[in-house]
Amino acid sequence: MTEIRTDLLERFGTQAYQPATFLDRGVTVPFTTPFLLGARIRPTDTRAGLEVVITNPSGGRGFYIVPWPALTEVCSPTLHDRRLWQRLSDQTGITPALVRETAHAVAAEGLAGRDAAGAASQARGEEAAGRMRANFMLLLDLIRRSETPEEAATAPQADSPANVERRARRAVGRIAPRIGVTPEIIAAWLESLAGAFCGVGVPGDPVQSRTRRMARDLVALVEQVDLWVAQSPDPHEQHAATMVTEAARLTMRCAEVAFRDLDSLLSDTPTLLRAWREDSTGIGRRATRPDWLLDGWQVIVELWRDAAPEMRHGALWEMAFLAPVMPREVEEWLGVEEDWDRPTRLRRLVRAKEDWRSGRMLDLVARNERLRARIA
């Protein structure tokens, strides 16, 4: 767990990591091995397997793109990471949701420590509760849109559970023939929609959804880093802060557009059901956009939170090199235009630094497990 075979690693070095699509960018896996912190996995060019994209731990321009079997020769991944990879390598389509669910299952076994296990169980519970709330919010909207003024004398959210259930059944019964399916199918679609959108959150839900919490944390991170660096006269630290905050601001802008688009879709349940009937796959993909956009930021936010003030200089560099590259596919998704080469140019201005992960490996693993527990 202590050494990295740099001679082997160099074979996998590349400057050419400018992903065009989110899938090319890969999905961040919550690895606990210091060398793999913030690493992403993605399908190989031939789609025959998976490879790991790792930021050069010495900073500078490079990345390493390493097939897993070679990775175990380059470094010695933790038990948790080996088990996580074992589970992920069986999967065909890699998405943030799949990685999250698999990571929860592995962490729940306790291989990243008891805190991470507890956090994974709690996150699974919250996900289930979010799905139920999303279903309930969609039903409430359906009730509001299908009732006469007399039937709607009592707002559904203020009614007794038994009455809400009765009114929901009536609303589903009314909407089903208009869409041309049975009430049972409407109920099933609502459950599927709740599953697809629980991470996004349905408008009116008093509990903030997972992705909106992440977006809020990103706003707070930018504010804090701006404040921190305003007091720093060090131009290198300012450069690291710029790399973080510029990438974060672009992500925030894209996430805002994505949330606006989805909120509009979710604000009219009958229309949403019709759209689902026409293209459930397309709607399902749209629902995953915030996850893809915000992927990779959780570890960066937690690195900042975990760093004591005297350690923030080093943390800022680590965050800067892990800042996700935004793929151009986002233009197609959201119509957002940007100087896409700027992050790469910013990275080029950075000289290779001392490996920031060269401290005591066991302490770094313990730190990464602490982050792992908070990221769940």
């Binding site: 010695s76 038990l79 066991l362 313990a366």
Partner: protein, 405 residues
């Protein structure tokens, strides 16, 4: 001459009993005893009771509150000796002289002493910024003061000539204490050669015993004693051979004593020993065969202490609790065990540097086998056992344990 015991001391038999009790106290109890002594207005008797525990105190380094006397004599720490062993010709100061000297300096400095005490009130020696600021002010004032011999001096059994010797030595060190402090504050980084040269070189115009005392103080805290002695020898402040003599004294007094109930502290100490010994062996001073032999003997002692601390910690903090509780450990207990395992790993790594490689291979294998043997114990948690195995023996060994489970 040697200093006589101060009057007012306990009866010899009672003092022996108390000294023995203090020396036998656990690390935690010793920390509490020191805290009580630190609050005593007159700690001369207390200081004698602590003498037998001083090697352990140097290791434990409990956070001591800043007091005027301790701050005043901080730059002379390396030459403060037991009164019974004191000789004027050695260029040292007997511990029994510190209280009357402090009293004399307080009177000589006057209001400035009161103002400095107010500036460090409530702080400990862990607050390096306060120590540097208040110390700088105090040492400057002390160097410029002309203390009269206090009435209590007679109680020490020391002569007027001894008083002159002590004040002259102290004043010489205080004149250069600011640069000495700059080096002391960077002791964990060596301290760097430039700081050592600046500190010791500053005393070039003083009597040789001043630079010698400064070097002795520096070596007490230095993480690279060999390099420090070499850098000091290269200045014009020390006559030939003096740096080597101070280094020899440091080697003589070095006790590789590691706690067996504080794995983090033991790991830290072992790492410091390993670093210091590596540095000593690479230093020019180690070229002399006789000194090289003594350094090698020190390495063997450190290696043995490290192995003993590893075995004791592994048994008391991992193997025994796991066996007694059948593996059913609560979250806090497991967190503590994982912390202990990480410290043990550090201890092992330091121990390997000290020379005990193969001994750890066997010890770690036995520990991992012990964890594997607990898989079937009622209430045992396979993931916990795998994690402890991973920390101590690596992920491959942990995978084997999981796969056999």
């Amino acid at each position: 001459m040697t200093a006589a015991p101060a009057p007012g001391a306990a009866l010899p038999s009672e003092q022996r009993r108390l000294t023995h009790a203090v020396a036998a106290a656990s690390d935690a109890a010793l920390g509490r005893i020191v805290a009580v002594f630190d609050r005593m207005p007159d700690r001369r008797v207390a200081d004698r009771l602590l003498d037998a525990a001083r090697p352990r105190l140097r290791r434990l380094r409990p956070p001591r509150p800043i007091g005027l006397g301790r701050l005043l004599f901080l730059p002379l720490d390396g030459v403060i000796v037991d009164p019974g062993a004191w000789k004027r010709a050695d260029g040292s100061i007997p511990r029994s002289a510190l209280a009357p000297l402090t009293e004399a300096m307080r009177a000589a400095i006057g209001d400035e002493a009161t103002a400095i005490e107010a500036a460090f009130a409530g702080a400990t020696f862990a607050d390096l910024g306060v120590v540097g600021t208040a110390g700088g002010r105090l040492w400057r004032a002390a160097a410029a003061a002309t203390p009269g011999m206090p009435a209590r001096w007679a109680e020490t059994g020391l002569s007027a000539a001894d008083f002159s010797h002590c004040t002259a030595l102290a004043a010489g060190v205080w004149r250069h204490a600011a640069s000495l402090w700059a080096a002391l504050a960077a002791a964990r980084e060596g301290p760097p050669e430039s700081l050592v040269r600046e500190a010791i070189g500053a005393a070039a115009g003083e009597a040789p015993m001043v630079a010698e005392a400064m070097l002795a103080t520096l070596l007490l805290k230095a993480s690279q004693p060999g390099s420090v002695a070499a850098a000091a020898a290269a200045t014009r402040s020390l006559p030939a051979g003096v740096a080597d003599r101070v280094l020899d004294r440091w080697i003589d007094h070095c006790r590789p004593d590691l706690p067996d109930n504080d794995p983090e502290g033991a790991a830290h100490q072992a790492e410091e020993f390993a670093k210091a010994l590596d540095d000593l062996e690479a230093a020019p001073a180690a070229r002399r065969p006789e000194r090289r032999q003594r350094i090698l003997a020190l390495r063997r002692q450190a290696d043995e202490a490290c192995r003993a601390a590893f075995a004791a910690t592994a048994a008391t903090m991992l193997a025994e609790p796991l066996a007694q509780r059948g593996g059913a450990i609560d979250d806090a207990g497991m967190g503590a065990m994982e912390g202990a395992a990480r410290s043990l790993k550090r201890l092992e790594q330091a121990g390997r540097r000290l020379g005990g490689g193969t001994a750890y291979d066997g010890a770690v294998r036995r520990l991992a086998d012990g964890f594997a043997g607990l898989r079937a114990a009622p209430g045992s948690n396979l993931a916990d056992l795998a994690r402890l195995t991973e920390i101590l023996a690596g992920p491959e060994a942990a995978l084997r344990l999981l796969d056999c489970g």
